[in-house]
């Protein structure tokens, strides 16, 4: 499937003459793949010479799952598995200086509301700083906290609480 996407992208690059498409911005969807004839494939006449134009959306915001960084209990350290997610978002934010992003920190339900607000802020700041190190401008970033006020998972199980300890990258 991956190969198919690349093939599609290359095909688009070759055919969409004059369009300034960068390789950075290869589409993440493979819907164009079906319109490209594989080399040596069974040709069926005119249809194989069809070209479906694809416009790459430079402002394509990652889906929700790719905008959330989860944290360990009582921790503000970004786990290695979230580095790529942060890089992807940082790269996107850098491409559009008009983009404003708010990093929203959250905690699990344990403890006081105001103190949790401060803890959530530390998580948001950790993600904001990581993006700053990747070259995202300060003026595009804001770190805020919701403390324990906006859980995504209800209940007091370890699993629910782990889902709530998070920082969400919110495009505004």
């Amino acid at each position: 499937m991956n190969r198919l996407i690349w093939a599609a992208a290359v095909a688009v690059l070759l055919s969409a003459c004059g369009s300034a498409v960068k390789l950075d911005n290869v589409p993440v969807e493979d819907k164009s793949g079906t319109n490209v004839t594989k080399p040596g494939g069974a040709g069926t006449g005119v249809a194989e010479r069809d070209v479906t134009p694809v416009t790459l959306d430079k402002n394509k915001i990652p889906d929700a799952a790719n905008r959330v960084v989860y944290f360990d209990y009582d921790s503000y350290a970004i786990r290695p598995e979230f580095q790529a997610l942060i890089e992807t978002n940082a790269k996107l934010i850098k491409t559009d200086k008009a983009k404003k992003v708010v990093v929203e920190g959250h905690t699990d339900e344990r403890g006081g509301r105001e103190y949790n607000l401060a803890l959530g802020q530390k998580r948001a700041e950790a993600v904001r700083r990581a993006m700053g190190l990747l070259g995202v401008s300060e003026s595009q970033l804001e770190a805020v906290s919701f403390g324990k006020e906006k859980p995504v998972a209800m209940g007091s199980t370890d699993e629910a609480m782990a889902k709530n300890r998070r920082a969400e990258i919110s495009y505004r």
Binding site: V102, E104, G111, R113, L117, Q121, E125, V144
Partner: protein, 421 residues
């Protein structure tokens, strides 16, 4: 063995008086309570509010009075009590009164307080009010009785603020000190936290998430006019009024971490109160305005500190436990109420600030956000009871607790308003 005996003894001493409004739980020994009889006011039966019931509930909730049975007594403020009869009932004081509907639809309420030990008339009060103010009148009567018999100002006619969450709807309520007569000051689809009464009792500062980040509003309760006083980059939270009402302390993150700032209560440029790389939050002024108590994790875990309200060196106040938050100082500066995590549960603690002695005063496990009554005799706090959020009041020694009348849904973030002028 001794422990078991003690438990049985304690269980025997626990008595619960059920009222329509709330439940008072009395436990412990060595209480010095004034026995008082409150006769049904003449006309209570036909009145929209039962004066004697409200007055009794108020006085019992204070922890300083014990109601003596006065059922079946037909008296009013004009009756002269048969002192020996009342002494036999074991009471020290008697309240009588009446409530009468006036031609214009208002109600005439009169009362008299008797010292039945000395056979002395301690004075009375009268009011002419609309039906909607009858509960307030009953609270004023309770304040009168309380002050005459204890020498302290009563707090029954003060107001409290709290927040409820029902589904995704948040309300900021202003209610009587017994939780009744609640009126919504603000309804929002986003969370509201940390309401704080201005010293004039007319405005509330609070944190609202309505703009998808925490910002601080000052809200005039009577007019509903709101002013956005802190909307700086980052989070804006934990507003606290200086005693003169001119300054707000708050936690802002505009310069990085959560730090304390002072600003004019009308808004304007904040002045940073302290500078460090740790969390500083939950500021609260002492009533003389000289100090600010606050929470900081500068020592590695959240503890309560205090510093001069002009800034300067902070001294640590709590030393036991690894999680101490949400300080509230009594108006006389003698007591510090706060929440401490002990063995994974969160309990209301009270520290005697002169000796540093600390007591856990509840048997609940999810206590939050204590706030002293303006006479320093009671503490209101949020907790969980039977799996639901609840508001409670307790005496400073923890011996008398009452669950306040509540709204539907989760109820939290209480703040006790100042004395009413």
């Amino acid at each position: 063995m001794l422990k078991r005996h003690l438990l049985i003894l304690m269980a025997g001493l626990v008595s619960a008086t059920a009222f329509a409004q709330f439940r008072v739980e009395v436990s412990g020994v060595g209480l010095t309570q004034v026995p008082i009889a409150i006769a049904a006011f003449r006309g209570d039966d036909a009145a929209p509010q039962k004066m004697a019931t409200i007055v009794t509930a108020d006085l019992e909730r204070s922890g300083q009075f014990r109601a003596v049975d006065a059922t079946g007594v037909a008296m009013d403020e004009g009756s002269r009590p048969e002192v020996s009869t009342w002494r036999q009932k074991g009471t020290d004081a008697l309240v009588t009164g009446s409530i009468t509907r006036l031609a214009d639809g208002r109600f005439d309420v009169r009362m008299r307080l008797w010292d039945v030990v000395r056979g002395q008339d301690l004075g009375g009060q009268s009011f002419a009010v609309v039906a909607g103010d009858l509960r307030l009148v009953a609270h004023r009567v309770a304040d009168f009785v309380y002050e005459k018999l204890t020498g302290d100002k009563g707090i029954f006619s003060t107001r409290i603020a709290y927040v409820t969450k029902v589904g995704q709807s948040y309300n900021l309520w202003v209610a009587d000190a017994d939780g009744e007569s609640a009126q919504s000051a603000l309804n929002s689809a986003e969370p509201i936290i940390s309401p704080s009464w201005a010293p004039n009792g007319q405005q509330l500062a609070y944190v609202s998430f309505e703009s998808r980040k925490p910002v601080i509003f000052v809200h005039d309760v009577a007019s509903g006019k709101r002013r956005l006083v802190a909307n700086f980059k980052g989070s804006n939270s934990a507003p606290a009024w200086s005693p003169d009402g001119k300054t707000l302390a708050a936690t802002l993150t505009r310069d990085g971490g959560s730090q304390l700032y002072l600003m004019d209560a009308t808004g304007g440029e904040p002045r940073r109160l302290a500078q460090n790389s740790s969390i500083d939050t939950e500021p609260t002024f002492t009533s003389d305005g000289k100090f600010i108590y606050f929470v900081s994790d500068r020592g590695g875990a959240p503890q309560i500190y205090r510093m001069p309200s002009t800034g300067g060196n902070a001294e640590r106040v709590t030393f036991t436990g690894t999680y101490n938050i949400s300080p509230s100082v009594s108006p006389d500066g003698k007591w510090l109420a706060y929440i401490s995590r002990v063995s994974g549960v969160f309990k209301l603690h009270v520290m005697d600030l002169s000796s540093g002695a600390v007591n856990a005063i509840t048997d609940t496990t999810a206590d939050e956000n204590p706030s002293f009554s303006p006479n320093g005799r009671l503490i209101i706090y949020a907790t969980h009871q039977q799996g639901r959020e609840a508001l409670m009041t307790t005496t400073v020694d923890g011996k008398i607790k009452a669950r306040l009348a509540g709204q539907n849904g989760d109820i939290r973030e209480p703040d006790w308003g100042p004395m009413q002028k």
